[in-house]
Symmetry: C2
Subunit: 345 residues, 2 copies
Amino acid sequence: MARLTAILGVFALSLAGCASTSGPAIPDDTGPLVISKQGSFFVGGRDIHSNDLSLLPAYAPSGTITVDQMYVRYQIPADAGKKKPVVFIHGCCLTGKTWEETPDGRMGWDELFVRRGRPTYVIDQTARGRSAADPSGIVRVKGERAAASALPQVFGAAQEGAWTIFRFGPEYPKVYPGMQFPLEAQAEFWKQMVPDWLNAQPTPNPTVPALSQLAQKLNGAVLVSHSQSGIYPFQTATLSTRGIAGIVSIEPGACPAPTSDMRPYAGLPILVLWGDYVELSPRWAPRLKLCREFVEAANRAGARAEMVMLNDVGFPGASHMLMQDRHSIAIGNWLAGWIERKVPQ
Amino acid sequence: MARLTAILGVFALSLAGCASTSGPAIPDDTGPLVISKQGSFFVGGRDIHSNDLSLLPAYAPSGTITVDQMYVRYQIPADAGKKKPVVFIHGCCLTGKTWEETPDGRMGWDELFVRRGRPTYVIDQTARGRSAADPSGIVRVKGERAAASALPQVFGAAQEGAWTIFRFGPEYPKVYPGMQFPLEAQAEFWKQMVPDWLNAQPTPNPTVPALSQLAQKLNGAVLVSHSQSGIYPFQTATLSTRGIAGIVSIEPGACPAPTSDMRPYAGLPILVLWGDYVELSPRWAPRLKLCREFVEAANRAGARAEMVMLNDVGFPGASHMLMQDRHSIAIGNWLAGWIERKVPQ
């Protein structure tokens, strides 16, 4: 089995090299990286006044805090040229860490795309990671100024349930044959998971207007979303198509309804990308079907949308966390090649 | 006033250049940066079982989550040589963002120290930022399986109160004369603040054993802490001195009591660093006094401890957020020079 995996890995890597039309595929083992500029900033945010910030004598109960801002970390390679930036948007119960070094210690897509000459921007969704949540609801209830029902709808994803959602196998701890997530490093992966405030957020999620603001600031960016955030780039395009150079939605929790307004997607390069075992999953199979219907509807309205199953392009065994799978670099090289072909500079 | 500030800034920068003993001071305006390796990982963490993870049908209420892990992002410069790494530890209500690009868009100390040839490791304290908190207490109370008093002691720092704590001025919105924090970018700074779970954590804070584990993994590191985390490197040394090459505590919320066991600090290079206006602050002046007593006690026990007021080495006007002040690069160059002189390679 290990041998088969190794063979498949080599096969995938060579295919990825073929698929790329500009520049060689980046190997796992790399030399020095030259950055022209890097840093981090916030997009969006609004000031609110709260009387429920603290029950501690050292910190005032009342005052102003800023919420709904989105943390963004970026790196611009020395040889960026005119290539459009990529914005990486993580999914449920995770943070921007999703796109960084993999649980088994390999390069993340954040660096891979920089090495492919593309500025990369990695965000933390609002109310997650380094993007602040509003503590007022918790403080108010603990201080007995509101009922328990006023608490934010926060949840944690149990590892046993996430195992199935991330399609490591049909149910914990069974593993799909040939599945490529590095399970030997799963303890490091579970540490990536954080409490999720999604359901405590207004609609649309404040991440969406922040993405629109970021795309416009960048004057053209490819929005790459994953899972829970899969629909965000489409929602962003509905707000405004300004600044959106392309959309890559990796295993989206939802695609736009095929009956919805398709005009925002006219002319836009769109990729909906899926890993393996999707048809075996009661959670994911219906989503795949709806996304296929969306892609067809979008193309009828003039979009340049594709749905790609990684199995069909030489990468079998991909889990839901495919940017961290053993063949993540090969998949990333393939995706970078797709963007280079489809998104005009 | 603007002219005086500009003059002071130039004065500080030139002094910083003089203070450094190895390598030139890094200017604000820099060229390409060459990284030999970068990435992120977690240190520490433990699995817990919870029956209060979710009230949502899509996510199971019961299962395993990992808590108390510490997120670490690192960059190793191409010319690192044998210089000891620096670990940057943020303070109250903030995350590792503290050390990244400043609110007014200048290089952070995370990059400055890499440019000085030193590997840098930036952490998020446990239960903060990208380091997961445990949502069980919130879910349990919202699900009416526990009383409101079981909620975690979470708080947010109001901007008006933080203004005084960070010593932008004696009280909001007054400004100390010559104070160097870039207040024109304060809106961007307030976005850095996140809810603080410190008081919902066990003692010692799980960040402390995680720092010990990190220092040992790095086989020698300088722990640079700030404010609320100011005491963490000392607590880490009390657990074990292994891997601790030096301690820099910037404006600590507390120093170890001078009557406590000083043996962990014997032979250790220690710097307790302070900005301006400290004696004017009822919150900070007593802490300064106690830290001075600690430094004297540590030195009697064989430590190589110093307390430095930035005013005395040519950097007046430093706020509590001195790593983001207008003269942050000059101060960072001075600090890098101190480490180069005091910490053996």
